[in-house]
């Protein structure tokens, strides 16, 4: 089985480190790419800018997306992903501190597959990451590459 790619979009380095640690602790089988803001995330997703010419095989199998991001915020990243055929079906898990109903509702309406609130308790956080990694990378059947036939 090939190593799967996880795209973690997180501006807070603490959170990014904790997430990586959680993933690591859960022994999630996949390489994690960290994007520090929305632009970088989009660059990676569409292989543009700094990530132009990246390995096409390294398309993420799941995107862990924070909402509050510099430059382009998470909802906008989500919207652009869903607008593009290449990423339309990529699973996106919103991973954020906010528990605002508004954020939840908007994330789902923009096409998020899951919404996970980062708990303060690291153990809970590890548990959450573990379950999502288990679900999205192991149990979930990914859509066929290059999108569905129309």
């Amino acid at each position: 089985m090939k190593r799967q790619t996880i795209l973690l979009v997180e501006d807070n380095p603490d959170d990014a480190a904790l997430t990586l640690r959680a993933l690591d602790k859960c022994r999630v089988q996949g390489s994690v790419v960290v994007a520090r803001d929305g632009v970088e995330a989009l660059d990676y997703l569409f292989a543009t800018g700094a990530h132009a010419g990246r390995d096409p095989e390294a398309d993420p199998h799941v995107v862990l997306l924070d909402l509050k991001l510099p430059r382009v915020d998470g909802l906008e990243v989500l919207r652009r992903m869903r607008a593009d055929a290449r990423t339309r079906l990529t699973p996106v898990v919103v991973l954020t501190s906010s528990r605002e109903d508004r954020d939840v509702a908007e994330s789902y309406s923009c096409g998020a597959n899951s919404y996970i609130r980062k708990p303060v308790d690291f153990n809970e956080f590890v548990e959450a990451v573990r379950s999502l990694g288990l679900y999205w990378l192991v149990m979930n059947v990914s859509p066929p590459k290059g999108g569905v036939l129309r």
Partner: protein, 1274 residues
């Protein structure tokens, strides 16, 4: 050396161009040679090349240095030269001005030329001036005037140059000094002479301010000197002229007619001793020919001859046509003058003219003009001409005077003249006759007058004429010296003296006595005729032939205008034919024309005429007045003709009446019948052929009545008045008798009084009376039976008759009524006196019928109203004997009317007093109803507005509003509801009235339009106020809402930020704490791990706090959406979740089922979760934990009660219970953030509910949520 003419303004730099060229040439040659030869020489001298090069350099440097020094010198001197020449130019200009001043002083007159040498001497006397000269360059040659011994120019070429170039300063060559600097100014005199004043300066003069000062002084001195010299000359000249004039006057004083001019000319010339060259030349007519006289003091008298003189004079005169002094050349001077005076190169000629005719000239011969002599001769020549003219006028005057004297003497009119003193100077023979004073008595005296009136009037007239006015035809009643009176017509005109002043009066008088008398007589006659013409009642009209058979109206008197009915002004000039427009016109005009042609008078009767559409009748006379005029006199006889005809008609009518009368008429006198009419014949059965004339009328009476009749007729005759009618018995022709009534009357006939007796057959009358009685009986029966009261009373009010109906109504028997006083016994007491008054008034007025209403008392005491119609009863002589009345019982009607009236009064009171306006208009739009409320609201009383045609205008002063209002009425067919109108009140205020009308649906007779209204002014005002307040409120709410929304937005952003950003660091602390424990477990040790554990616990607690605060904030922000919530189910769910969270605990939780509330589901869930969570928490240490949710009534409202038997709390701190972060238990005892109850409080208060708690330490707590619900909520 010559002057540089091209640079005249730069004196002192001579030959500059030449010198410069020369210097430049020398420099070029020397420098060229140096350049060419120096190197060769050097090479030749020195053989060392190095030395040659060094010397070459030094040589070049030396050449450059020398050249530079030279150039410096040249430039410096040039700059100095420019500065110097500028300075010189300024000075030269200053001098030139002075020079020009001097020149202008010099040349004011030609004669000043003599002064020029002196002037030049003055100028030359100044310092630094070598000399001064004046050059005159006009004429043939140059004339020089210069100071004696000083510098003078060689010739006039210098002056010519000055004039040609207007040069001011220049250098001129001079024999002695080589060159001399001169200043010059051109000079022009009035006579056209042109020259130049030239001043030469001494060599090397500094041309400084001193020079100019000297020159200025010289100019000033010169000006003063010239002025005094001219004044002296003027004085001398005046004296000489005076002398010449006086001399000439003496000469002219003695009359020497022939040769006068020549002598005077000679004498005048002699007087001009100071002018040896003056000549006086004059023309004289002698025996019709013209001679020429020349005279001069030096030459004596020369007569040029009668023939030649004219020629010479013409030649001279032709040169002086404009009477302007003129200079002649030698060619112009006539030969004879030359002979006389010798050759002359210049003659100044002055013409002498009298009234535009040249009579002489004065010539001044010689080169030097002498103004004194010239002016004197001009004056003298004028005097001579005047004298000649005077002599001619004297001769003419004498001749005219002679003619005038002859005319005055022969004049039939009185001619009088007086001088300015009012003394008579002329008094001709006619004046003696007309005015009645002899000439010798009045000449040289005041104008005579016999009476004071005449004198005063005459004086006034004379004064008017003396004032310069002309009097024409002034009529004067004059009394002559001998007292006889005449009428005068005076004509006066002022006589003017030589200076135009009034020097006397010329008066002409005419005797108009006879003509005035004749005029007066004629006027009187004319007035008489005119008065007659205007006053006679007969119409007079005068026609005149305009053509042989055409007469037009020229005049008519007022009577004619009146008769014909036409205004003279309109009809003057109309034709005679035009006055008749009927068929007879031709005949009438024909007759009038015949009268004229035959020169006879004719009269015409019954000339018909139409006036104002009615036929009139004229009697007319026509008579010839003169050959072309005819007079018409006419009278209107229409009325006379009509009277005659009416008389005829009256007679025939009388005859007809007499013949056809239905009574017998007989006319008697002295017991004898004069005539009787056919009816009389028939009454007495007399055959028609019986002649009754002269028969005794008594014979026609029954025999037994004859004596009575005789007495009757005698009584009447003696009394002279007709006796009363008498009924007696007549005897017919056949002997039968019949009742007859005689009614005599007296007529006055021309031959005495006669009786006319009307005889009526009474037998028929008797039968009629019987019929009448029967009718009366029937009438009475009728009266007895009709359903009306019929009562008759006599004059005293006693009842004479009463019908059955009345008796029945009143309940009396007839006997109880007849003979009793109606007013006292049957009319009710309070109306007795009124009834009596009415009755007596009716009697007094004599009115036949009157209507009364009386209350009558019945036998039973009941009062009944009877409406009587009463009629006065009279006996045969017309004396009032009583009255009868027919009456109707109107008691019931009165009652009904009374009820109606009361009802109406009630209604009226309601209408008047109701708090609703009521107004009504009639057909014309005039107010007919205006109730109390309307009066109160508008202030207009009913008295002033009802019936007032301006009523509507008072209420609605604006015409447009009224028009709109009426159109609205018409449009809505008087059907409107709550139509608000602005009404003008009496105090000027405006009130809003809401009018409603149902006039069309509920028409009221007499009220064309009516409406009720309510005063809604205050209501409308209040409504608008409410509306305004509402708007204001809305605005405030809007503003507050916006503020709230802004705050809400802010808070939302804050919450979001808290939610996100506050949690991230906590997570970091917790996560890395955990990592620390995991990764550095050994290094930390037990204590370190404990610290990390505490850090992590604190972090999580912080996270919980943030979450709870977020909930609280969300609750605060949340909007309420009420719906029916099953509280019981909600609580059960919450308890189930709690139970699952701690499955080990045994809690007895009970929820009363079926509790429903109207609330926001989400918020209520938050509140209930908190309350139940608390209960769960605080019962954790209670062995038999019990939680109960129920519904109770407390504090007057329905409440949800959540109670437990947990730890409870001290009620002392109940007030702090619902504040955020307020905790009543230690955290290690019962964990919590202290926000839960604050959230509950927030939810409850957002619903408008209340929450409170009751507790006891150790005995549990009970929370009540008081639902303040709307009644319909369940």
């Amino acid at each position: 050396m010559e002057a540089d003419e091209r640079s005249p303004n730069r004196p002192g730099v001579p030959r500059m161009g030449l010198n410069s060229g020369r210097i430049a040439l020398i420099y070029a040659v020397v420098a060229g040679l140096w350049v060419l030869l120096s190197d060769t020489v050097l090479a030749w001298l020195v053989h060392d090349p190095l030395l040659v090069a060094r010397i070459g350099v030094a040589k070049g440097a030396g050449f450059v240095a020398v050249t530079a020094i030279l150039l410096y010198l040249v430039v410096r001197s040039h700059v100095q030269g420019i500065l110097a020449s500028d300075w010189a130019l300024q000075r030269a200009n200053g001098r030139l001005w002075i020079l020009t001043d001097i020149a202008s002083l010099l040349v004011r007159a030609e004669s000043d030329r003599d002064l020029l040498p002196a002037v030049c001497a003055v100028i030359a006397g100044s310092g630094w001036v070598r000399g001064a000269a004046y050059c005159d360059v006009t004429g043939d040659g140059c004339r020089l005037a210069a100071a004696e011994g000083g510098w003078r120019p060689d010739d006039c070429s210098l002056a010519e140059r000055v004039l040609a170039s207007r040069t001011v300063e220049m250098l001129v060559p001079d024999r002695q000094a080589g060159a001399v600097l001169v200043a010059a100014a051109p000079v022009a005199t009035q006579s056209g002479a042109l020259g130049a004043l030239i001043v030469a300066f001494a060599p090397g003069y500094p041309a400084d301010a001193e020079t100019e000062r000297v020159m200025r002084r010289a100019a000033d001195t010169l000006a003063v000197g010239l002025a005094s010299m001219r004044a002296r000359e003027q004085t001398e000249w005046e004296a000489a002229r005076e002398a010449a004039c006086s001399r000439m006057s003496e000469c002219l004083a003695s009359p020497r007619p022939v040769g006068l001019v020549a002598e005077r000319a000679a004498e005048a010339a002699a007087a001009l001793s100071g002018c040896p060259h003056a000549v006086v030349c004059a023309r004289e007519e002698r025996a019709g020919r013209v001679g020429m006289w020349l005279a001069g003091p030096g030459a004596g008298e020369v007569h040029c001859g009668l023939d030649g003189g004219d020629v010479v004079f013409s030649a001279l005169a032709a040169t002086v046509t404009d009477q302007v002094p003129r200079v002649l050349t030698a060619d112009d001077v006539p030969g004879c003058l030359c002979e006389l005076l010798g050759p002359a190169d210049r003659v100044d000629v002055v013409p002498v003219a009298v009234e535009g005719l040249a009579v002489g000239v004065v010539a001044l011969i010689g080169g030097s003009p002498q103004p004194r002599a010239l002016a004197a001769t001009v004056r003298i020549a004028a005097l001579v001409a005047e004298a000649v003219q005077l002599q001619q006028w004297r001769d003419e005057l004498r001749s005219v005077n002679e003619h005038l004297d002859a005319i005055v003497k022969a004049s039939p009119l009185a001619v009088i003249s007086t001088n300015s003193a009012g003394l008579v100077t002329t008094w001709n023979p006619a004046a003696e006759r007309v005015l009645g004073w002899r000439r010798v008595d009045v000449i040289g005296r005041k104008h005579p007058a016999a009476t004071a009136d005449c004198a005063a009037e005459l004086d006034a007239v004379y004064r008017r004429a003396m004032g310069g006015g002309t009097v024409h035809g002034h009529e004067l009643h004059w009394v002559q010296q001998d007292g006889s009176r005449v009428e005068l017509a005076l004509h006066l005109a002022p006589l003017h003296g030589p200076g135009g002043e009034v020097a006397g009066i010329l008066a002409i008088a005419d005797d108009i006595t006879e003509s005035k008398w004749a005029e007066e007589a004629l006027r009187r006659t004319m007035k008489t005729v005119a008065d007659l013409f205007g006053a006679v009642p007969t119409g007079l009209a005068i026609f005149q032939f305009e053509e042989p058979d055409r007469l037009v109206l020229v005049d008519a008197n007022p009577a004619a205008e009146k008769i014909v009915g036409l205004a003279l002004a309109d009809w003057r000039g109309k034709r005679l034919d035009d006055f008749w427009n009927d068929v007879h016109a031709g005949a009438v005009v024909e007759q009038i024309l015949t009268a004229v042609w035959t020169k006879s008078a004719i009269s015409m009767e019954d000339v018909s005429f139409t006036r104002d559409g009615a036929g009139r009748c004229l009697r007319m006379w026509a008579f010839a007045m003169s050959a072309d005029r005819v007079g018409l006199a006419f009278e209107d006889i229409t009325d006379a003709v009509r009277t005659q005809s009416e008389l005829h008609d009256a007679t025939s009518r009388l005859t007809t009446i007499f013949e056809g009368a239905s009574v017998g008429i007989v006319i008697t006198r002295d017991r004898a019948i004069l005539s009787a009419n056919p009816r009389f014949y028939r009454l007495f059965g007399l055959p028609e052929d019986v002649d009754l004339a002269g028969i005794d009328p008594l014979s026609l009476a029954a025999e037994d009545r004859r004596e009575d009749l005789l007495a009757y007729s005698d009584r009447g005759r003696l009394a002279g008045v007709p006796a009363a009618p008498l009924e007696t018995v007549g005897r017919r022709f056949d002997g039968t008798e019949f009742a007859m009534l005689l009614d005599p009357s007296i007529i006055r006939l021309p031959d005495g009084n006669a009786f006319v007796v009307f005889v009526t057959d009474m037998s028929v009358l008797r039968k009629t009376q019987e019929d009448l009685r029967i009718t009366e009986d029937r009438l009475r029966q009728t009266l007895d039976t009709i359903p009306l009261c019929a009562v008759s009373i006599d004059a005293d009010g006693l009842v004479t008759y009463i019908n059955d109906y009345a008796l029945q109504m009143m309940g009396y028997s007839r006997d109880e009524v007849i003979g009793h006083n109606w007013f006292h016994d049957f009319v009710v007491e309070e109306e007795t006196s009124v009834g009596l008054e009415d009755f007596s008034r009716q009697q007094a007025d004599g009115l036949l019928t009157r209507n009364y209403e009386r209350l009558v008392r019945t036998r039973s005491g009941e009062r009944r109203a009877i409406g009587f119609s009463t009629t006065l009863l009279r006996d045969a002589r017309g004396v009032i004997v009583g009255a009868s009345g027919i009456g109707e019982d109107i008691t019931e009607r009165r009652k009904a009317e009374q009820a109606l009236r009361q009802s109406e009064q009630r209604l009226r009171k309601v209408l008047h007093g109701m708090p609703v306006l009521l107004c009504a208009f009639d057909e014309r739009g005039v107010l007919v109803e205006w109730n109390g409320e309307a009066e109160r609201v508008t202030g207009y009383s009913a008295a002033e507005i009802v019936g007032n045609p301006r009523g509507l205008q008072m209420l609605y002063p604006d015409a447009e509003t009224r028009t709109a209002l009426i159109s609205e009425w018409v449009a809505t067919a008087y059907d409107e509801r709550e139509s608000v109108k602005t009404v003008a009140c009496r105090d000027g205020s405006r009130r809003l009235i809401a009018w409603s009308s149902i006039a069309s649906r509920a028409p009221i007779p007499g009220w064309a339009h009516w409406a009720v209204g309510t005063d809604v002014t205050e209501r409308v005002r209040a409504e608008s106020e409410v509306k305004r307040l509402n708007q204001e409120l809305e605005q405030r709410v809007e503003a507050r809402t916006q503020e709230l929304q802004a705050a809400y937005k802010e808070m939302e952003a804050f919450s979001y930020s808290v939610s996100h950003d506050l949690r991230a660091p906590l997570r970091g602390i917790d996560g890395f704490g955990q990592a620390l424990v995991e990764d550095c477990f050994d290094q930390l040790g037990a204590r370190g791990q404990g610290y990390v554990g505490r850090i992590r616990a604190a972090t999580q607690r912080m996270g919980q706090l943030i979450d709870d605060l977020l909930v609280l904030s969300r609750v605060s922000r949340a909007e309420i959406h009420r719906e029916d919530v099953d509280l019981s189910a909600m609580c059960a769910r919450a308890l189930e979740e709690l139970r699952q969270s701690e499955p080990d605990r045994r809690v007895d939780a009970r929820v009363v089922p079926g509790i429903h509330v109207l609330a926001d589901r989400r918020l209520l869930a938050v509140a209930m979760e908190n309350l139940l969570g608390n209960a769960w928490k605080f019962t954790s240490r209670t062995p038999d934990a019990r939680i109960e949710v129920s519904e109770v009534a407390a504090r007057g409202v329905r409440c949800i009660r959540v109670s437990d038997n947990g730890a409870g709390f001290d009620m002392q701190y109940a007030g702090k219970l619902f504040g955020p972060f307020q905790r009543l238990h230690a955290a290690d005892e019962f964990p919590g953030t202290g926000i839960g109850l604050a959230t509950v409080q927030r939810v409850v208060s957002k619903h408008g509910w209340t929450v409170w708690a009751e507790a006891e330490v150790g005995n549990g707590a009970t929370f009540y949520v008081g639902l303040r619900e709307e009644p319909s909520s369940r």
